[in-house]
Point group: C2
Chain length 403, copies 2
């Protein structure tokens, strides 16, 4: 059995008045191990943020039907016997919740997290941004087949010239953007600096939107899928220009308030006040679950259609051909997978789909099984297919036991 992961408190991170120098995060280290054990629950102490208010209405109900599933066994991807409890203890879990047919079966907080803690979800927010596009498309405020430059005219002068909203939703524009999280020379490294997650270097763009305008096209739009965070930032820009309000306010108005979120959330912002649309959301565990449940329930809550049902349907399927060229190998365990409207589709037949974020963030929706699961973590590495697969295996075992 893998060793149980040490908590931020056990590691002494940011403990004491002041914390000892080697236990303080720095602008270059805050999201790396071991500091992310602390920082992912304390983003407003690291970065400037903007509130996503929940309004003044009551929180939507999450009825409870707890079951003890810690000892439930499953076979890990490497053939090893494991249990749900072991998965939670050894995959740097901060929070985990499992809903079956809308009822809370399991809700667990580790590493100092509690129900009110706001946890960074990295790229999970992309699925929220996609939903906002879907809502605006449903109202005719944004048209999916239109070029993004229709909404943000400056985009006509960069690599996004001619790319449509739809192509960005599926990450199929032809814009060059290398997403190598550990390479500061890659475009995502520059995005980290432009977004305020790292100190600026001379010559860097002042903010996220300034960076977008520097990007070049390297192949035709509409080709294969390639995961690039900047496509979501560009969708955020389209949303802000099309609606005239900030992404934080839009998220509050169109999702946080209607879905009956229990806690105010917040978005990290860059030095120009621009919301970090590709990975800056911090929210409570149960509120991530509410969003997952909304997608399990075809976009409606208590009879009110919050996200159009046909939009949700399109998030459970998509173009398998476009997905394979770059991702067939990494998704070998999911042979009928794709990426659609800012969601990862694990299986186009059953519609299992997920919002995923680096360092172990996930909202998982399994429609036939009636399952929504949220895992918030602080892995030591941004990508770890084994740890992700272990998590999914455990969720699948729970889904099977409950059905």
């Amino acid at each position: 059995m893998t060793a149980i992961n040490a908590t931020a408190a056990e590691l002494g991170i940011m403990a004491g008045f002041p914390p000892p120098p080697d236990k303080r995060f720095a602008p270059e280290t805050w999201d790396l191990a071991p500091f992310n054990r602390w920082s992912f629950q304390n983003i407003r102490m690291v970065l400037p943020t903007r509130a996503v208010p929940r309004g003044t209405g009551p929180a939507s109900m999450l009825p409870e039907a707890h079951q003890r599933l810690d000892d439930l066994a499953f076979t890990d991807i490497d053939g090893r016997a494991s249990t749900v409890g072991e998965m939670l203890a050894t995959t740097y879990t901060d929070g985990f919740i499992l809903l079956h047919r809308g009822r809370v079966i399991m809700e667990r907080y580790l590493n100092g997290m509690n129900a009110a803690s706001l946890h960074l979800s990295q790229s999970v927010v992309k699925s929220f941004v996609g939903s906002l596009v879907g809502i605006m498309a449903g109202r005719g405020i944004i048209a999916l087949h239109q070029p993004v430059a229709q909404y943000v005219p400056e985009l006509a002068g960069c690599g996004y010239a001619g790319a449509t909203v739809s192509e960005l939703l599926d990450m199929r524009s032809g814009v060059r953007f290398i997403e190598d999280y550990l390479d500061p020379e890659s475009e995502v490294g520059m995005l980290d600096r432009a977004a305020g997650w790292r100190p600026l270097r001379p010559g860097d763009p002042a903010g996220i939107y300034d960076m977008i305008l520097r990007l070049k096209q390297e192949r035709p739009h509409g080709g294969h899928f390639a995961y690039r965070s900047i496509e979501t930032d560009t969708l955020g820009w389209v949303l802000e220009r099309a609606t005239g309000i900030s992404l934080a306010e839009l998220l509050s108005r169109e999702l946080w308030q209607p879905m009956g979120a229990e806690f105010e959330a917040c978005l990290a912002i860059d030095r120009c006040g621009t919301c970090q649309a590709d990975g800056g959301l911090n929210a409570a565990l149960r509120d991530y679950a509410r969003f997952g449940q909304l997608f399990l329930d075809e976009g409606s809550l208590a009879g009110r259609q919050i996200v159009p049902a046909d939009w949700v349907a399109g998030c459970r399927t998509g173009d398998g051909e476009a997905f394979r060229p770059l991702y067939a190998e990494r998704f070998a365990a999911f042979p009928d997978s794709c990426y659609s409207r800012q969601w990862w589709v694990f299986d186009r037949k059953t519609g299992k789909h997920a919002a995923l974020g680096i360092y172990g963030q996930m909202i998982y929706v399994d429609p036939p099984a009636g399952i929504v699961a949220v895992k918030l973590s602080s892995w030591p590495d941004p990508l770890n297919d084994l740890r992700r697969a272990t998590t999914i295996r455990a969720i699948e075992a729970m889904a099977k036991a409950l059905n």
Copy 2:
């Protein structure tokens, strides 16, 4: 009549996606005019912050008994005839509230502020920090006559060696600290950088507490009063070490929750996570008023003693001799004034006292008149005795009209 002050929206500050470069704040300009018209209501978008939770109980009642006092006339300090409405329109007001015997007589929001906006109050927070010391003294956790180094041993190695808690409360230590807000070479300029309000320069201390340890003694402790922000930061350090919890948590537990605050507040923090005890509080207008009312009511609320009554009494009087050497001239209009326990006492006989912050922040308490007033502003200059006096004249006119 002076021109009505332009709002942040009229000036276009931080407006647009993204805001034009000349309308964006920079790390060197965010708290200066005209950017402070926007930033004082949006500190969490500028600086890292830490929440001061209000808990889950009901907000304490602020019964309303509104009166139309805008046309109430008063004679300004320069002999000019003015009105309350003119005072509000021409002193860069963001929020103003006046309570008489606990009832809200006037509550006004300008420049885009609303009841839920959190406004930076600069040095007003010093009076909150002083109150926390008073609460802890009442419980025997901190002894006022003890040296501060008793609680923070490292202080024995700097200018604070031998200074008592009481001397710091009245800002009468002998530590050298020049408070010239517009001189980056002064100690308060270095504090701005150490606190994260300005970029660090080579050789600067990493945080507020590191800076304190560099300070030297220049005269005996216990001499005359000299206003130095760092004394409050040192008290914050004493509080954190004596209680083992952060200032944000302490403020929540001992004041925000007991006084029935309506909104969560937040504190700006330095790069080490240290709360800015000398000027980092952001709160809603009505919650500042609740704190003022608590001091009008001798520290009790609905029968519960939150701040010891003898502590509050000591905040209404103090050592006039110690005040005169440096402040007699600036306070010529208030011949019996002093500074006591982190409050400015305008008149020792009547006990009129105030929490004051640069750029126009004030909580004003007039015990005989039963008046509490809060003014939140975004002046273009940090200190302006004329504008401050105009505000007090207007409040005095309202107090007279109500009694």
